[in-house]
């Protein structure tokens, strides 16, 4: 069967628009216009700005060509630290909250965990909290002088595990990522919980008759059935990790000595703190490129066939 040509498609769209004027205007053209103004224009302007040196105050901008990109690629150590930190952040959030969310969801569905409604609500609750509040709360909990967490560790004889959660540059980023994971666990849990509801009970019953325990039922029955949910969860986690900003801004501000900088925070730091809006735009373009690459990977590898289950 021959594919319709571009001219055919155009004619068919015009015919559709003529017969469905209301839908065309409010369902297609208006959203497109809003998207163009609030998303398209800022992206285009950011790319344009990345070729300039501008402090955000002066009326004129100085065109510098690719200088900002050269500095980013060949001289800016902070960029690579932030990029690596984002990768670490993704690693932590993919392993900790996603895995934990899956296990809890399975536990709730299979009634291993008592009071499932209460537990589900409690674990989902942090998702509804502002990350700023979460950050301030954990600043107190993990405070080295009077924080509850260190006190609990010491009182149960695990004082040797007490660390400088935010002050030690070797672990500060992981502390932030774990706090972020704590706040995010409810999201994969609720998605997996809903996904498990769609898996036919007979499948689990059959596995049980075959002698499968909970571990095998989770890994060999539930996980394959949950591939579409996992694809969505992984995609959400990846983009949430790339957008990480709030916790860094409220808890460490990149300290100690820039070791907790992530790309989103670096854009803020360079643009608004150091008054380098041109270079901040360059960093934003870098985030855009990384997002496109990640989205392509997710679409081609993870999402491909995921919804054919």
């Amino acid at each position: 069967m021959a594919h319709p040509s571009l001219a055919d498609e155009r004619t068919s769209f015009i015919r559709f628009a003529q017969t469905h004027q209301f839908v065309t205007l409010f369902g297609i053209l208006l959203p497109l216009a809003v998207f163009a103004v609030f998303v398209g224009y800022p992206i285009v302007f950011t790319i344009y700005l990345s070729f300039f040196d501008w402090n955000g105050m002066a009326p004129e901008k100085t065109f510098v060509g690719l200088q900002n990109y050269r500095y980013l690629l060949f001289s800016d150590k902070y960029f690579y630290t932030a990029l690596l930190n984002n990768v670490k952040w993704v690693g932590v959030t993919l392993s900790f909250p996603v895995l934990l969310g899956l296990i809890i969801a399975y536990g709730l569905r299979s009634r291993i965990i008592p009071m499932p409604a209460l537990i589900r609500t409690v674990i989902f609750f942090p998702v509804t909290m502002s990350l700023i509040s979460v950050g301030l709360m954990f600043l107190l909990i993990l405070n080295p002088l009077f924080g509850a967490f260190d006190t609990i560790l010491q009182s149960i004889g695990l004082g040797s595990l007490v660390m400088e959660w935010f002050g030690d540059y070797r672990i500060a980023l992981y502390t932030l990522a774990v706090v972020s994971g704590w706040a995010f666990t409810g999201m994969p849990m609720i998605l997996y919980f809903a996904g498990l509801g769609d898996v036919p009970q007979e499948t689990f019953d059959a596995a049980k008759i075959e002698g499968a325990g909970h571990f095998r039922m989770l890994t060999q029955v539930a996980v394959p059935q949950l591939r579409p949910v996992t694809a969505v969860v992984v995609m959400l986690t990846l983009f949430e990790s790339l957008r990480a900003f709030d916790l860094v801004a409220v808890m460490t501000k990149g300290a100690p000595f820039g070791s907790t900088n992530v790309l989103g925070y670096l854009v803020y730091l360079e643009s608004f703190w150091n008054s380098r809006f041109g270079y901040g735009a360059t960093l934003s373009v870098a985030i855009l490129v990384i997002s496109i690459l990640m989205a392509t990977f997710v679409m081609k590898k993870l999402m491909k066939g995921a919804f054919d289950v």
Partner: protein, 432 residues
């Protein structure tokens, strides 16, 4: 019926004519109720008391002058003011009066044409006659004055008087004596110095004071004025001194994890002997008490090192500018004049924290120690020095603070730290 109607029309026309004439006559003689000049005041409120004081300032002004010059305030908390300031100043409707920093940030605002020249208003209102000389000096760029300091501060070594007595120590007059006292404290289980460097700015206080007292004010000014590179051996040596202090356990444990606010807890619990910090902490030291302080404490300037003449840092903590594009600069200056008047400055002490920039403010409600520090600041001369994050542009100071924090954590050598700072400085101002 017909005649009644005619009468009514005539009566109505006559009445309308009379009313119109009366209105026209009265309009000619009655005073014109012109709308007051609207002034927008954009300020930084780092403490809850800052907000209370600003509201008092605006309300009192509007009570007396609101029908002539009406002021509206808008505040941003301390942390985010710098980021919002850029957007506000460059907007099409900028504030008439706004908070600015001294030093490097002020220079940026001036360079970009946002700050009005206040020299004529200094002359008109005689501000330089009653403002603390160091504050006036900091407001001067070239031969012009661009801001009015409303709050000044000083950095000194705060010490616990009770612990000094307990350990039989004397107030040091040399660096060596200070280090000897610190060692006694350490040997007796106290932290010799609080640092509370989580937000990375506190360590620079000690760094810049050591540099000034060891190598002189000219060396420090050379660094921040871009005449001496940060890789200079003197800057490296001071960073090394800080590193040695950290290695020798002269600061509290976990100093890179503790912020200044929470550090008040161990300070109040008598765990530390000294704290080199700014006087803006007096609000914290005072706590709930009417007069400073919640614990027995006093201060001394950082003592001389190697016999050099010591210099106490006096800086402008709060400064006010008038926007160059304000159509109502005279009215704005009148409001600024109210801000630094004796009643306003005296009230600042009651509501906010020390120190008002006016020498005329009534300091009698302060403790004896605070009054002594106020006198020391007023006597400090026309210029001392600002700490690094006030003295240079944010981009350079941010890298400097990062670098010093890294040295203290043992993750960088002093040479690497100063090289990193110099690299950033070179990016901002070019190579020296």
């Amino acid at each position: 019926m017909q005649s009644n109607l005619i009468f009514s029309r005539r009566y109505f026309l006559a009445a309308a004519l009379a009313a119109g004439s009366l209105a026209a006559t009265l309009g000619g003689v009655a005073p014109a109720f012109a709308a007051p000049i609207e002034i927008r005041y954009f300020y930084r409120a780092p403490w809850p008391s800052s907000e209370t004081y600003a509201n008092w300032l605006i309300n009192e002004w509007n009570k007396v002058n609101g029908d002539r010059i009406h002021v509206t305030g808008a505040s941003v908390d301390g942390e985010t003011y710098k980021t919002k300031q850029t957007i506000e100043l460059a907007s099409s409707n900028p504030p008439d009066v706004f908070y600015s920093w001294e030093g490097g940030r002020a220079a940026e605002v001036i360079k970009n044409g946002f700050a009005a020249d206040l020299t004529p208003y200094y002359a008109k209102y005689g501000w330089d006659k009653f403002l603390v000389p160091a504050g006036v000096s900091l407001a001067t760029f070239g031969d012009r004055k661009y801001f009015v300091p409303t709050e000044i501060g000083a950095s000194v070594v705060w010490y616990r008087k009770d612990l000094y007595e307990k350990l039989g120590l004397k107030v040091p007059t040399t660096w060596e004596q200070l280090m000897a006292n610190a060692k006694v404290a350490k040997d007796n289980g106290y932290w010799p110095f609080m640092l509370a460097n989580q937000k990375k700015w506190p360590a620079q206080f000690m760094w810049s004071a050591i540099l000034v007292n060891k190598y002189g004010l000219d060396t420090y000014q050379g660094l921040v004025d871009n005449k001496i590179p940060w890789t200079d051996q003197r800057a490296v040596a001071v960073t090394k001194i800080m590193q040695d202090l950290a290695k020798a356990g002269m600061f509290e444990p976990s100093f890179n994890s503790i912020d200044v606010g929470p550090a008040m807890v161990p300070w109040s619990q008598s765990k530390a002997l000294h704290w080199y910090q700014g006087s803006f902490n007096l609000g914290r030291f005072r706590g709930d008490k009417e007069k400073c302080c919640v614990v027995p404490m006093d201060f001394f300037p950082l003592p001389p090192i190697d016999g050099n003449k010591p210099v106490m840092s006096v800086f402008a903590e709060d400064t006010i500018m008038i926007h160059a594009k304000s159509p109502n600069k005279d009215a704005a200056a009148e409001f600024v004049n109210w801000m630094i008047s004796k009643p306003a400055m005296t009230e600042k002490l009651a509501i906010d924290k020390p120190y008002p920039s006016s020498t005329e403010a009534d300091l009698s409600r302060l403790s004896e120690m605070e009054q002594r520090l106020a006198k020391a600041m007023a006597d400090a001369g026309s210029f001392t020095f600002m700490h690094v994050d006030h003295a240079v542009s944010p981009a350079i100071s941010d890298k400097f603070l990062d670098s010093v924090q890294a040295v203290l954590a043992g993750a960088m050598t002093p040479e690497e730290a100063m090289q990193q700072t110099e690299n950033e400085a070179a990016r901002v101002r070019g190579k020296i």
